[in-house]
């Protein structure tokens, strides 16, 4: 009987509490409480530090909220996306999740009706003026804004070893012709001219998008992803031939290495150049390596192949108010300047405090302001995920077989399957 009475007491308390909550005066919308679950693939080095810096800003403003850091490790979000898909389809969305702005956001989540529009938040926070037009474009669909971009990464960076280049009296190449000359000179010295790691399957596709941009130029390159430039164009053939020629200069063990494993060649002075996104900058710093220089990839001076990480508000988020507060932190100058210097990316906003950023990032900011901005397919900005996967596979086969005609056909077919080309 004792137990029964105890439960009765608890039930009475709960009921009383409910009545009190229902009848009592509504408390002012004071300090938010409860939880906030943030889903991302930022687990390593600078990325994790950047994310923690954001959490710190958030906690200072909303100390009552408990942040749940739901991360899934894996480069380019390969593993995380699988978990996210499962959760979204299973009706258990995280409160807010990392997603590449552009087609990955729009085609995968917005068109299918899984997100809430953020237009009113953009208006009230003044973000429609704080972000440049190129960024606003890739987070818009049907006149609404759908996510808050936190950063911009550049895909088309040619990293080189300063020491190797100085020893051999070389200059970073600006065109493909110069690139092959430099590559020949390095090869003659027994140095790997271009280092690459292709183990995870996406890295070759990454290099090829930069070759495409460098060969076709910004406008024609953009047309590839909107259907204005045909994939059967002779310029695409030329790009494939350029890439094929580059593959003759890469390290023999590339398919055993990830991109950072390949970066070791540069650190050891055994490799000359590497084409990879500007997260490489953060990786070099984490390795205490300072002898690296950077330049735009061949043919792509004046072109900025961009990708952007953003966060949105999925429908059915359990802690909606806390998410809105989170998004406000992300879009604020304070939040972006806390996150980006650590993550090693430039802010999406146009008004950062430049003194907080290192030399590479300052130069990237300068380019961002004056270059032609074009989207990256392999990082979700230019193409839907289905198309990007088909593109990635076609290039992965190309690395092995180097069949230009067959690959061009496969790339064309991928565009048709994505319902962009006819």
């Amino acid at each position: 009987m004792k137990g029964f009475r105890f439960y009765g007491f608890v039930v009475a308390l709960v009921v009383l509490g409910m009545i009190a909550a229902a009848c009592g005066p509504t408390p002012p919308p004071a300090a938010p409480k409860g939880k906030l679950e943030i889903f991302s693939w930022w687990t390593a080095g600078g990325e994790a530090e950047g994310l923690n810096a954001l959490y710190d800003v958030y906690k200072k403003k909303y100390p009552g909220v408990e942040i749940i850091n739901a991360t899934v490790a894996g480069g380019a979000g390969a593993q995380a996306k699988a978990v996210l898909t499962t959760r979204m389809l299973g009706g258990d969305p995280p409160d807010s999740f990392q997603v590449h702005a552009g087609h990955e956001l729009i085609d995968t989540w917005v068109v299918t009706g899984k997100m809430e529009p953020l237009t009113s938040l953009y208006k009230s926070e003044g973000w429609d003026k704080a972000f440049p037009k190129g960024v606003l474009d890739i987070v818009s669909y049907k006149g609404d804004y759908w996510s808050v971009p936190v950063n911009i990464h550049r895909s088309n960076v040619l990293w080189y070893s300063k020491k190797v280049f100085a020893d051999n009296k070389l200059e970073p190449p600006k065109t493909f012709d110069e690139f092959f000359k430099v590559a020949d000179a390095l090869k003659a010295k027994g140095i790997v001219p271009l280092v690459m790691g292709t183990k995870d399957g996406w890295e070759a596709g990454h290099v090829f998008e930069d070759v495409l941009a460098g060969t076709l130029g910004a406008e024609a390159y953009n047309g590839l992803w909107t259907g204005k430039t045909a994939w059967t164009d002779p310029k695409v053939t030329e790009a494939l031939n350029n890439f094929k020629k580059m593959l003759a200069y890469i390290n023999t063990d590339h398919s055993a290495l990830t991109w950072d494993g390949a970066g070791q060649y540069l650190i050891d002075g055994k490799g000359g150049m590497m084409i990879m996104g500007d997260w490489t900058n953060g990786w070099f710093m984490s390795k205490n390596f300072t002898g690296y220089g950077w330049a735009p990839t061949p043919g792509a001076s004046g072109i900025f192949v961009a990708l952007s990480d953003s966060f949105g508000l999925p429908k059915g988020a359990k802690n909606r108010d806390n998410v809105i507060a989170w998004l406000k932190v992300l879009g604020s100058k304070e939040g972006q300047d806390a996150f980006n210097p650590k993550k090693g990316s430039i802010p999406a906003r146009i008004d950062p405090d430049k003194n907080l950023y290192n030399d590479y990032l300052k130069s990237a900011m300068a380019d961002w302001a004056k270059d032609a901005i074009v989207p990256s397919p392999i990082h979700g900005a230019a193409a839907s995920e289905g198309w990007a996967t088909a593109y990635k596979d076609a290039i992965a086969v190309f690395v092995a077989k180097q069949d230009v005609a067959a690959t061009q056909k496969a790339l064309q077919q991928a565009c048709v399957d994505a319902k962009v080309c006819k």
Partner: protein, 299 residues
């Protein structure tokens, strides 16, 4: 109403939850996957319009899937053959009443205690090709030091080896298990049979060839079934060790299924691969189940 005793009711009640759970979570989901594989679900929006066998047709047309099937056959044959042969030889050696047999038994069995992920990470390094510029590592380094530089190879990065290198790692992990099975079988063979053979003048080799091996046939069959279904479904080892590999030379259907479903959002295509995997495992296991059912009836 003789059947409906209290005993019977309780036994039905006790078994019901697991039967229902299996019906829903195994057969229900198999049926659901089969349905999806016939539908047009290609993207985050669920679309269950039936399109017949079109997904399968496209799948078999895809170059990647053709490579995958080829890889699976190569991997399965190599992995089965080498595990059975090495497992049997180890069992024969241990069967010689050697000293501290228990120690050796454990040593050979230990790899099986690891997960395929661990095996994959270790062998990724052991079979890393290294390079001229950074020097050799792993097995290639061993060859270098032993003056056997000729034997160095690109291992899993060489498309002509590819999946065979993964088979080496899988064999390392599972041959100890096959050994344990064979050893148990050998210990079950009465000593009288060997004695009789020896009295008739058979050599040790002939005893193994004509007496032991035929008697171990059921064990070989079980080993083939167990290793075969592991090899058809293999994912974790490939994922940790090589990924899809240069030109998909180490790709397998299960990895393709993961890639296309969760990265490309091609749910129907992923479901078709799942069904093909199910059918191939079924083709291996159902004859075995029929066979054991028959032999049990005979007894």
């Amino acid at each position: 109403m003789r059947g409906l005793t209290w005993d019977r009711v309780t036994s039905i009640l006790l078994i019901a939850p697991s039967v229902i759970a299996i019906l829903v979570f195994v057969y229900g989901f198999i049926g659901w996957t089969g349905w999806v594989s016939l539908a047009r679900w290609d993207g985050m929006l669920q679309d269950l319009t039936l399109v017949g066998l079109r997904n399968y047709q496209k799948l078999f047309d895809a170059e990647r899937f053709q490579i995958d099937l080829h890889n699976t056959v190569t991997f399965t044959l190599l992995f089965l053959a080498s595990s059975l042969v090495i497992g049997f030889l180890l069992a024969v050696l241990l069967d010689q009443r050697i000293r501290s047999e228990g120690l050796f038994r454990s040593v050979y069995l230990f790899p099986m205690a690891l997960s395929f992920i661990v095996t994959g990470v270790v062998w990724r390094w052991l079979l890393n090709p290294g390079s001229r510029e950074l020097g050799s590592v792993g097995v290639n380094l061993l060859f270098d030091k032993a003056g056997l530089g000729l034997l160095k190879s690109g291992w899993y990065t060489d498309p002509s080896i590819g999946i065979k290198a993964v088979a080496i790692a899988a064999t390392w992990q599972m041959s100890g298990y096959v050994m344990a099975m064979y050893l148990a079988g050998m210990r079950g063979i009465p000593e009288d049979l060997r004695e009789a053979a020896r009295v008739d003048g058979a050599s040790e080799l002939e005893i193994y060839r004509h007496i032991i091996a035929p008697l171990l046939q059921p064990i070989t069959l079980s080993a083939v079934i167990i290793l075969g279904h592991i090899s058809l479904k293999i994912f974790d080892l490939v994922s940790a060790m090589t990924g899809p590999g240069l030109g998909f030379c180490t790709d397998v259907p299960a990895y393709f299924m993961f890639d296309t479903t969760f990265r490309g959002n091609h749910f129907s295509q992923g479901a078709s691969i799942a069904i093909i995997l199910l059918l191939s495992v079924a083709a291996l296991i159902i004859p075995y189940l029929v066979y054991t059912a028959r032999t049990e009836v005979q007894r």
